[in-house]
């Protein structure tokens, strides 16, 4: 019980509760279930990407190419949709996840086989992926009227009161909670980042684990790419431009350690929700949207300071022990 209370996730949950309470004092309508559901739905892409990013960061890497991957995969499925409007949606899903995973594998292979630092690899592929979109389209947008209705309908279809987009985020949270805590691969992600040296001794191939982390992150980014373009009914080069840093920020707020080995799916979820609530609340409570950037910046800094405080070793109790004994 004490451990649960003290955990990072619980702290963040309390912070989110306080935030909501604060907003409710100025605008009660914000905390109605229907509006909260809308906020969750709006934050769903960030949640998905944050889970993928968390896995990568766990293995001591970073994936700056997620937003570019999202944009490229989104464009690819849009173009496929234009070329073959009749293609079943399930195939679109398969292409989105598969193509995204492929892009992730490209990052992963460079990190694994050539041992290029992940930040360099993904800094490079981030521009390359966006460039490829331009080469595919000459910069032209794919607009709403060019997409088939079925293609656009998926994220907004409502099942049991929630749009499919939200359900996918919920499914991902559950799936990856299980993967991270109950599978060998999940533990390998923690081990490879927590202590790469020891992981090698435990028979874990650190490079290959990082490769799978990038692949997972890429697959999630690809899936999110399809959901994104179909939800906003548009695809172009600059879709989700600069979003990679928001995703990293969500992870950091969620208590994922940039040094690897520390982090959890609930943490990433809460970190994303925190940013999502702020983004949605500002216009509602009538704070100028120009404040949003500064507020999320301050939130990141505070989160890092608090996390560092929580991680600080309490110091040895050597003297206390001595006093008790003496």
């Amino acid at each position: 019980m004490k451990r649960i209370l003290a955990s990072r996730e619980a702290l963040l949950l309390v912070a989110i509760g306080l935030l909501l309470a604060l907003i409710a004092t100025r605008f009660p309508g914000f905390v109605t279930p229907s509006n909260l559901a809308a906020v969750f739905n709006d934050t769903a892409p960030l949640i998905l990407l944050a889970i993928g990013q968390m896995i990568v960061i766990l293995t001591r890497c970073i994936d700056l190419s997620v937003a570019a991957n999202l944009a490229l995969t989104g464009m690819v499925v849009s173009l496929i949709n234009i070329a073959a409007p009749g293609l079943p949606i399930i195939a679109i899903f398969a292409v989105a996840i598969g193509f995204g995973a492929l892009l992730g594998m490209f990052n992963g292979i460079l990190v694994w086989k050539l041992a290029i630092p992940p930040i360099v690899v993904t800094l490079g592929t981030m521009t390359i992926f966006r460039g490829i979109i331009f080469l595919l389209t000459e910069g032209k947008w794919v607009n709403s009227h060019e997409m088939s209705d079925a293609f656009k309908a998926v994220p907004r279809t409502v099942i049991l009161g929630l749009p499919v987009l939200s359900w996918i985020a919920i499914a991902a949270v559950i799936l990856f909670s299980i993967v991270m805590t109950r599978t060998t691969l999940g533990r390998a992600f923690y081990a490879a980042g927590g202590n790469p040296h020891a992981a090698t001794y435990a028979g874990i191939n650190v490079g290959r684990t990082q490769f799978w982390a990038f692949t997972t992150s890429g697959a999630i980014a690809g899936l999110t790419g399809y959901l994104w373009v179909s939800r906003f009914a548009v695809a172009y080069v600059d879709v989700a431009g600069g979003f990679e840093l928001t995703v990293v920020a969500a992870c950091v707020i969620g208590g994922v350690s940039i040094m690897g080995g520390i982090g959890s799916v609930p943490g990433a979820l809460l970190g994303a929700l925190f940013l999502g609530i702020i983004a949605n609340a500002l216009p509602v409570v009538n704070i100028s949207p120009f404040w949003q950037m500064a507020i999320s910046g301050a939130a990141i800094i505070i989160a890092v300071v608090l996390n560092a405080q929580a991680n600080r070793s309490p110091g040895r109790i050597i003297l206390k022990r001595a006093e008790r004994a003496g």
Partner: protein, 327 residues
């Protein structure tokens, strides 16, 4: 192994080392691009055009030099572009209030220093990882600009303020280019020829070891954040002067281009190694690529593919080569 009485100082001469270095590889790339550009466009070999082309990289490179030292020491600052925005906003507000050119320069530099100090305190004082701290301050600094300026813009800088970003010192040689060269020289001396530079390398290789060797690690890192902030202030002055106006979105996305420039220059992103010469060449390479393709009216995004591919391949190729040779 030799007994110490006979330990030679060096096995390879500095000349031998240099010939096989990253910098020589990059120099070849730069020359290659230069030659290719001269063939690809009739407008390339023209003094004025080449002079114009330098504006594509001088401001970013000024920050890149300080960033190089910071990265060599094992830290990073992603808030540099946001510092430009905040410094520029402060200068804009001051200009509005009638402050003269000298005052504006002073304000730009001070805001840069203050922002650098803020980052430095968070990183060295509280022991936080710089990459996340500066992702935070990146939003914070630019966010403050947005709060101050909103959808407005500052214009109306004093006429002589235009000199920093638009003035020429001699014929086609712009003030910015001269400043770039001077700053490059200062940083080269600082990194390669002083005790401070030696400490930067030591910290980047093993910060604990450096601390245990009596180096004031916290102070050195703090100074590096100050320098990076200061250079962002200098760049803010040049860019504001060049644009003649300030918006909160100024220099958006520059941080990653600057980091790219530093890494392309052969600085190890994990810290510990790198040289200013490499960054200078990388700045020219990036400038030449964007300008050369620009002359062919190739859209900017295609240039960034080239830069991205260059970034990965200049690091990957030597490794592939040695893997291939090892079989």
């Amino acid at each position: 192994m030799t007994a110490s009485r006979g330990i030679p100082d060096r096995l390879r001469t500095p000349m031998e080392r240099n010939l096989k270095s990253w910098e020589s590889l990059l120099m070849l790339v730069a020359i290659g691009i230069f030659v290719a550009n001269s063939f690809a466009s009739p407008y390339f070999l023209n003094a004025w055009n080449l002079s114009d082309a330098t504006f594509n990289f001088t401001e970013k490179a000024m920050i890149a030099f300080a960033m190089a030292l910071l990265i060599i020491s094992g830290e990073i600052d992603l808030s540099v572009a946001a510092i430009i925005a905040l410094a520029s906003t402060a200068m804009g507000a001051a200009a509005q209030a009638g402050v003269g050119t000298e005052g504006l320069v002073l304000i730009g530099l001070s805001v840069g220093l203050l922002c650098g100090a803020f980052n430095g305190i968070l990183v060295t004082g509280l022991g936080l990882p710089s990459i996340v701290v500066t992702i935070g301050t990146m939003s914070l600094f630019r966010g403050i600009s947005f709060i101050i300026l909103g959808d407005q813009a500052y214009r109306g800088y004093p006429p002589d303020f235009a000199f920093f970003g638009q003035g020429y010192v001699w014929w086609v040689i712009s003030f910015e280019f001269v400043l770039f060269a001077i700053i490059a020289a200062i940083y080269a001396v600082l990194l390669h020829m002083t005790n401070f530079g030696r400490a930067v390398y030591a910290i980047g290789n093993n910060a604990t070891g450096a601390l245990f060797s009596g180096i004031r690690v916290g102070r050195v890192k703090f100074i590096l954040f100050l320098l990076t902030g200061l250079m962002s202030g200098v760049a803010a002055i040049c860019l504001t002067s060049r644009l003649g106006s300030t918006r909160p979105s100024i220099a958006f996305g520059w941080e990653l281009e600057i980091v790219t420039m530093v890494v392309l220059g052969g600085v190890n992103i994990l810290g510990g190694s790198g040289s200013i010469l490499g960054v200078v060449i990388a700045a020219f390479v990036m400038g030449l690529v964007t300008f050369g393709l620009g002359l062919l009216n190739v859209p900017g995004i295609v240039m960034s593919i080239v830069i991205g591919a260059l970034l990965i391949s200049v690091i990957a190729l030597p490794r592939l080569w040695s893997m291939w040779r090892a079989g």
